[in-house]
């Protein structure tokens, strides 16, 4: 075992995968010689050569389109979209191509690609470096959508994604790259080296896509979270003293409905939290599923806590970000309902 940041864990996942399988290739903007703007691919070009890890032109539709062609040939591309906010030029390739090639060709061609993309705010990135577009992917049949919350999961899930036979959108919460950020932006950064889930095996292991993890056992209310919000939820539970059960979804599509249902049947209350905008967000899907499957166990309406329905502002970042105070108020509200 080694101590790793989420950046090192993601890099280690690609390293292990490239070592094991010659068909794994890595490319994207600035990922070659330089090793990526967040340094996730640092050293991979030096180790595996220019044809396995290389820089791409600034053309997301080109990056994803060529990755799809490579996958049709038989490679397993793991490409980086520099920020999730930059994926829109590739959205046609993602939704109408990658997601449907297996289906429309009846398995004659397949599309085993991984699109890694840093997501979420908290770094003063403004409206074009802070977005959380996961619901734009979960609405697309044929994609898998993964959002890790810690280095251990990030590595195991990324290896599983690279080995998966279908396209995986791998969203890396950038505010978690260097530590388990709980929303208290005014406190000193806690590094992953001081966290249990910063302990990461150096070799190969996988975490199955589609399995959630309960991060905190509790009896009062179920908090459904993923990515950065897992740590915010843990902080909110401690700070309010409410005995919340915190579920880390890890995969949004496919979704581990059983874990959610089991928990809500026990607690009778549910809060869903995400950083993405509220309306038509993934929280709406979770709330609908909870009322469909747990209606007679519910003692209060399901509550959603999310980013406001506005673009992600720059200067007012911490008034936008759904931190432990906002989530804490929702927990109190749902307990009093």
């Amino acid at each position: 075992m080694a101590r790793m940041t989420m950046i090192e864990a993601v890099r280690s996942a690609m390293d292990v995968s490239m070592e094991r399988d010659d068909n794994v290739v890595v490319f994207g903007e600035d990922v070659g010689y330089f090793g990526g703007v967040f340094r996730c691919t640092q050293g991979l070009q030096a180790k595996y050569g220019k044809t396995r890890c290389f820089d791409a032109p600034i053309s997301e539709s080109g990056i994803v389109g060529t990755a799809i062609g490579m996958a049709a040939y038989g490679l397993k591309p793991c490409v980086e979209i520099q920020f999730a906010d930059y994926m829109y030029p590739a959205y046609d390739q993602i939704t109408q191509e990658a997601a449907r090639i297996r289906y429309r060709s009846n398995g004659d061609f397949t599309c085993p690609i991984v699109l890694r993309m840093p997501t979420g705010g908290g770094i003063f990135g403004g409206q074009t470096h802070s977005q959380s577009p996961e619901a734009l992917f979960t609405h697309v049949c044929g994609l898998k959508v993964v959002v890790p919350s810690n280095p251990y999961d990030a590595k195991g899930l990324l290896i599983a994604s690279i080995e998966d036979p279908d396209p995986v959108m791998f969203l890396e919460p950038k505010r978690l790259y260097n530590g388990p950020f709980d929303g208290h932006h005014d406190r000193p950064v806690i590094p992953w080296s001081k966290h249990d889930l910063g302990e990461v095996p150096e070799g190969h292991y996988t975490i199955p896509i589609g399995k959630a993890e309960v991060r905190r056992q509790g009896s009062a209310v179920t908090v459904v979270a993923y990515g950065t919000m897992v740590h915010v939820a843990l902080a909110a539970a401690e700070e309010t003293g409410i005995d919340a059960e915190v579920i880390d979804l890890r995969s949004l599509l496919p979704l581990d409905l059983d874990t959610i249902v089991k928990s809500v049947e026990k607690t009778g209350r549910c809060v869903v939290v995400h950083e993405a905008t509220l309306t038509s967000g993934f929280g709406g899907e979770v709330a609908a599923l909870v009322q469909e499957h747990c209606f007679y166990h519910l003692e209060a309406p399901v509550v959603r806590v999310a980013g406001w329905d506005t673009p992600y502002p720059h200067a007012q970042e911490w008034d936008y970000f759904p931190g432990p105070a906002r989530l804490g108020r929702a927990l109190v509200e749902v307990m009093e309902a």
């Binding site: 080109g62 060529t66 990755a67 490679l75 046609d92 429309r104 060709s105 004659d108 061609f109």
Partner: protein
């Protein structure tokens, strides 16, 4: 500033609209045999002229002339003629089948048969095409069974795509034919990626990208040219300029560029323009580009100048936007008749044999159709299962899709 007029927007228009006299005097046609054939390792800037001319082999008398001639034997040309005639007959029967309600939709190749039929001959087993909806000649010329094509068109119980795809959106990895999407231009950059993969793996296979004149305006076209140029991908970038994108004339996508081929020059990609109705010229140019790709010299852009004689699809009526007789005025003629004339001149063919071949081909197509119809048509007979809706979205069916399949009763 006072001496300047106010600005005005330029909106291009075709030379003629319905009711007018067809006029192609603006289409500059080079004399057959007049365009030089460069070495395959030529630099793109040394052959800029080729992006503005038209490479032609067959002249008006049916002779094969010039430096691009002499590549194909009698037998190969006879096979090519048969492929084009088969595609034309297949199309005619399927348009009729659509009118009879046996399928929802069809797209024919009338006038453009030489492009895909001759191109296929320049590829070898293992190469991969990323086609649009008007390159079925790639399948016919590679011996893909017509019955399979019809099973797909009729969405019947033997449809290899299980009823999931629009008619004619074929897929055959075995025959080097990537699954057709139906949205436009996406396949162009995918072809470049496939070619890059072949180079990454130090393979010998090459890719061919296909696009129409109208879709060259899509950003994926430009992405494809950037990636092909940057990585010198072993890919042939084909543009089929059939003059019309549904009702929109090619000038709307081409803009101020002299030709579509000229788009390649800014990317440093050798660009050729060829008579798309000349089987020999299409083959010669495709062969040249394939050799460049296989010798690791990188991509080639080819514009096939042709004319869409039929409607865009069975849902289209071209008389609403172009003169009805425009196709008769098209100066590059009919690809089937031109090759037929050439073969007769060579002494390898005759009117009698041609008529006999037409009858044989019609019989083959009808036999295939009977067989396919035995497996059902869109509204009658055997159908794909409702279960097929839910299968194959993922390699392994996730729980939420399984629940929905059960809800549907399967």
């Amino acid at each position: 500033m006072s001496d300047l007029d106010r600005l005005s927007l330029h909106v291009p228009e075709p030379a003629v609209r319905p009711g007018g006299q067809p006029d192609f005097s603006n289409v500059k046609i080079a004399k057959a045999g007049s365009v030089p054939r460069p070495e395959v390792d030529v630099a793109s800037e040394e052959i800029r002229d080729l992006a503005y001319s038209i490479i032609r082999v067959l002249n008006r008398d049916g002779e094969a002339v010039g430096p691009w001639a002499g590549l194909l034997s009698d037998d190969e040309l006879l096979a090519g003629l048969r492929h084009m005639m088969t595609l034309r007959t297949f199309d005619a029967r399927m348009v009729m089948a659509q009118r009879q309600g046996k399928t929802s939709f069809y797209m024919q190749h009338l006038g453009e048969e030489a492009v895909s039929c001759a191109f296929r001959r320049a590829l070898v087993k293992g190469d991969m095409n990323f086609p649009t909806y008007r390159q079925a000649g790639l399948l016919i010329a590679d011996g893909y069974p017509m019955v399979e094509m019809m099973n797909q068109i009729f969405s019947n119980e033997s449809d290899p795509l299980r009823g999931r795809q629009l008619p004619i959106m074929y897929s055959s990895k075995e025959h080097g034919f990537f699954t057709i999407s139906g949205n436009l231009a996406t396949q162009y950059v995918q072809a470049v990626g496939w070619a890059m993969a072949s180079a990454i793996k130090r393979d010998t296979k090459i890719a061919a990208a296909w696009i129409g004149d109208g879709s060259t305006a899509e950003s994926d076209f430009h992405s494809a040219l950037v990636f092909a140029s940057t990585y010198k991908a072993p890919v042939i970038l084909n543009i089929v300029n059939n003059q019309w994108a549904i009702s929109t004339f090619q000038g709307i996508a081409r803009g101020g560029s002299g030709t579509f081929a000229a788009r390649g020059l800014g990317f440093g990609i050798p660009a050729l323009r060829v008579d798309g109705n000349d089987y020999l010229a299409v083959y010669a140019v495709a062969k040249w580009a394939a050799e460049r790709a296989r010798r690791n010299l990188g991509p080639t852009l080819i514009e096939y100048v042709t004319y869409r004689v039929g409607a865009h699809s069975t849902s289209d009526d071209p008389s609403a936007y172009r003169p009805k007789t425009e196709s008769e005025a098209w100066p590059l003629g009919d690809p089937v008749l031109r090759l037929k004339k050439h073969l007769i001149l060579r002494g390898a063919w005759s009117e009698e044999r041609h008529a006999q071949a037409e009858a044989e081909i019609l019989d083959e197509v009808i036999q295939a159709q009977k067989q396919a119809e035995g497996h059902g048509t869109l509204h009658a007979g055997g159908k794909p299962s409702v279960r097929d809706i839910f299968e194959g979205v993922y390699a392994e069916m996730p729980p939420h899709i399984r629940r929905q399949r059960q809800k549907a009763g399967y």
